[in-house]
């Protein structure tokens, strides 16, 4: 499994396309498109980690640019909740981060993804049971 799973709002996906057009290759990261970053709740983040990701990056639109009005605000609250839970169970809350990008800000996205890949490498894998779903 890739070290990092990036859950990206479909409206911010243009930034990833621009990165590809500029021949930027991002390794160690699986990208999952979601309809809105606000859809990513704390359970989804925790499940992604349990299923093998070493870090999770949630990518939302810029504040006030959400087409559903407040999805990225919701996402921030959910990421904060996931961080609190991780801390409570003795895992580093820095395994989860959120970044806001417009579809034109591909370098901001790339930097965030590279930063999370580095961090995942530093933190290492979460011990998992063999065959854990």
């Amino acid at each position: 499994m890739n070290k990092v799973v990036t859950l990206i709002c479909s409206a911010a996906l243009g930034a990833l396309e621009l990165a590809k057009e500029n021949d930027i290759v991002i390794t160690d990261t699986a990208v999952v498109e979601v309809p809105c970053s606000g859809r990513v709740d704390e359970a989804t983040i925790l499940r992604t980690l349990r299923q093998g990701a070493q870090a999770v990056l949630v990518v939302g639109c810029l504040a006030s640019n959400c087409r559903f009005s407040t999805g990225n605000f919701e996402a921030h609250r959910n990421v904060d909740e996931a961080k609190r839970i991780l801390e409570e169970i003795g895992l580093s809350p820095s395994r989860v981060e959120m970044v806001e990008v417009s579809s034109a800000q591909y370098m901001k996205l790339v930097e965030a993804m590279e930063m999370m890949a580095d961090r995942a490498g530093e933190l290492g894998p979460i011990r998992l049971l063999e065959g854990d779903p």
């Binding site: 704390e42 359970a43 925790l46 980690l49 839970i85 895992l91 049971l129």
Partner: protein, 228 residues
Amino acid sequence: MIIAERKGLDRIIEMLDGRRSILVAGCRSCVSVCQAGGEREVVALAEALRLHAASKGMDRSIDTVTIERQCEKEWVMEIAPLIEGKDAILSMACGVGAQIMQQAFTDVQVFPGLNTEGMGAPEVQGVYEERCGGCGDCVLHLTGGICPVARCSKSLLNGPCGGSQDGRCEIDPEKPCAWDMIYRSLVRLGRPDLLEINIPPKDWSHSHHGGPRRVVRKRAVLSEEEVA
């Protein structure tokens, strides 16, 4: 509604130590509205426990269910098939729900996942405040619709005390003085004269001081023939 708050995960993990097959059971009533023990919180907590188990290399199975009301045994009995093989139930309901769960499933230990804080209401989204002291002898008609038992830090029936300043409570200046609110509410209602009424000491035997309370609604109690 009943307001509750999830126990710290360290406490929950400690309570469940040694249990291998756990059912996390939520409730769709009060604790769902106050976002402590509804479906979303149950799923998140189960994921947290699974992730914790995985990080520690523990072999532990965790299932989830959220029922309509954990405080009614008819709803609780519906999940009987899910209890089979479990060695622990983590109840994400209020203390009432957790007790009914244990009463229904006597062979499996029930652990409380929440702390029940009291009876209250959402003030704004995500902020819940106590509103009723459950005294069993309501005086809201005399106090402008503001409960002095629950909302005055000293539960004074004839206030304010000498410590109220600028409408704030001396116990915690972050909190409004209930008797200041009562005064303002009675003025708005055109009934400041009600402040002249000296509310006598309460008969606390109607509250918990009289032991566990029991309410019988005769109209609803089935006859022996009907039960048979």
